[in-house]
Amino acid sequence: MKYVLMYTSRPDLAGETDPEAAHAIYKRVYEWFGENAGVMADSGAELLGVETATTVKHDADGAVVVDGPFNEAKEVIGGFSVIDVADMDAAIAVVKSWPMLDLPGVAVEIRPMVEDYSHMEG
């Protein structure tokens, strides 16, 4: 089954990590992608900061363009990957080893991907 992993963090807490520790974690992240290459259906992407986000949303008069991420949540998505594993437990096992989870405010959302559209046919 394919799952999308959405890596989120809390920018308000992220500043507290000292640069040396941050460097060590980035090194482990790099290794982590190497170790999990076998299950990566799409290694995804790291995203630029929320300050670069632009949102297009519904408005009574039609679509409007606004500055910022789509909600005011404290957590922001920093990147995503797509993995292909047997089941949820396997996905959880992969995610549990995500090095960034050592940092406060970091969370990973696991969402199964829709792969079968046959039920839409009738």
Binding site: A86, D87, M88, D89, I110
Partner: protein
């Protein structure tokens, strides 16, 4: 026991479902590659059994009857679907046969229903339905929840198992102990729901008995897990005292219970389960709670209870579970050892975390009474009464409030 008089048919039905419903769901979901369909089919068969057995009497081979009915339902369900999809689903069946050799289907189902990716309230509801075989109306009655709310909760959880790919397998050894903690917690909650609400609205199933049975199944299937034996021991002993806990629908405190009503054979069986757990040398909270229950259950009277032993066990328990409720129980035992004055001082340290917990105020009332601070005791009792949700407990506290001047603290 006193208010509920199940017929033989209902007893047999309950026993059959307990033994058969879980494995049947597991077997059908393997065969058809669809947990949802399997679960619905078994539930359909359960409902058919409820009406047909009560009307015509139980069949000769109840287990086989249930299996035939459930399988027929599943086949009908399959036929209603696109044939192509059905074949695809069948081809997709994970090869649990290889991995599942020798493991109990029911246990795999239980682990799936108690998966941490499911909401806690959904875990219990789904376990009761898929593993224990209770119908949605039965579960709704037991928890005083709207049937539609509960049905929705179950449907959502089932859908997540299917669509999010939650496997129907016993987790590998590395994850077993942590996942087992969730499973045992569900069984423990299930027992307590059954135990506390046994004077509530009439129930057609004894949840507490089902929980004792389930704890036994888990321990027997995972014989090296000390806490599984600990929970089985704890529930066995608590259940053995169940009959004495109510008189004419009113809650009877441990100190006032008629100890002749306790099932002493079951208590002895519980003690053997504790020994079995202890031989594995992995102490844990359920084992300690079981040990405490055993000290109470083997005392000749309230006065002759080994309070020092109980106090020491609570001290050890608070190392495994430092929750304020455990500390409150420790204070209660401690009071019997050192007296109410010292216990009251300790109790006050729990005033903040337990401000909304009725038993904190009830305990405080008791200690205040025994040191003669009657007005404060009455106020504490009133507070306890405001906070309790259970009818039987409310009646007990009301009685205590009214007979206050004559009270000996019970």
């Amino acid at each position: 026991m006193t208010s509920r008089r199940p017929t033989t048919t209902d007893d047999l039905l309950a026993r059959t479902l307990r033994e058969e419903a879980g494995p049947l769901v597991a077997r059908l979901s393997r065969r058809f590659g669809d947990f949802d369909l399997a679960e619905e089919s078994v539930q359909g068969a359960v409902v058919e059994a409820l009406t047909s057995w009560r009307r015509d009497g139980p069949p000769q081979r109840p287990g086989a009857w249930l299996q035939v009915a459930a399988t027929r339902n599943a086949m009908d369900g399959m036929r209603h679907r696109d044939r192509q999809r059905a074949l695809a689903a069948r081809a997709d069946v994970p090869t649990t046969d290889e991995a599942g050799e020798g493991t109990d289907d029911r246990l795999a189902l239980l682990f799936a229903c108690c998966h941490p990716a499911l909401a806690p309230d959904a875990r219990l509801a789904l376990t009761l339905r898929a593993v224990v075989g209770l119908t949605t109306p039965q579960i709704a009655r037991a928890f005083l929840v709207h049937e539609s709310t509960l049905a929705q909760r179950i449907v959502r959880a089932k859908r997540k198992i299917v669509s999010a790919g939650i496997a129907l397998t016993v987790p590998p050894q590395a994850d077993l102990t942590s996942r087992l903690t969730d499973v045992l917690a569900v069984v423990y909650v299930m027992f307590n729901e059954g135990f506390v609400s046994s004077t509530g609205p009439a129930q057609d199933r004894d949840l507490a008995a089902d929980a004792v049975w389930l704890a036994d199944v888990i321990a027997t299937s995972l014989p090296d897990e000390a806490e599984a034996w600990g929970l089985a021991a704890l529930l066995t002993i608590q259940h053995a005292r169940g009959r004495a806990r109510f008189a004419d629908g009113d809650l009877v405190l441990l100190r006032d219970q008629d100890r002749d009503l306790w099932d002493h054979d079951a208590i002895a069986a519980g003690e053997r389960l504790i020994e079995r757990a202890a031989s594995l040398r992995q102490p844990g909270r359920y084992q300690l709670q079981a040990a405490i229950a055993a000290v109470h259950a083997t005392a000749a009277s309230w006065a002759e209870t080994d309070w020092l032993q109980i106090s020491l066990l609570y001290e050890e328990l608070s190392r495994h579970d430092p929750s304020p409720v455990v500390r409150l129980n420790h204070v209660v035992a401690h009071a019997q050892v050192v007296g109410p004055v010292d216990a009251l001082a300790r109790l006050e340290t729990l005033a903040e975390p337990l401000a909304e917990y009725h038993l904190f105020h009830a305990t405080r009332a008791e200690l205040l009474t025994s040191v003669g601070r009657d007005d404060e005791a009455a106020a504490a009792n009133r507070r306890a009464l405001e906070l309790t949700a259970n009818d039987a407990e409310r009646r007990l506290l009301t009685t205590r409030l009214h007979r206050r001047p004559l009270s000996d603290g019970s």
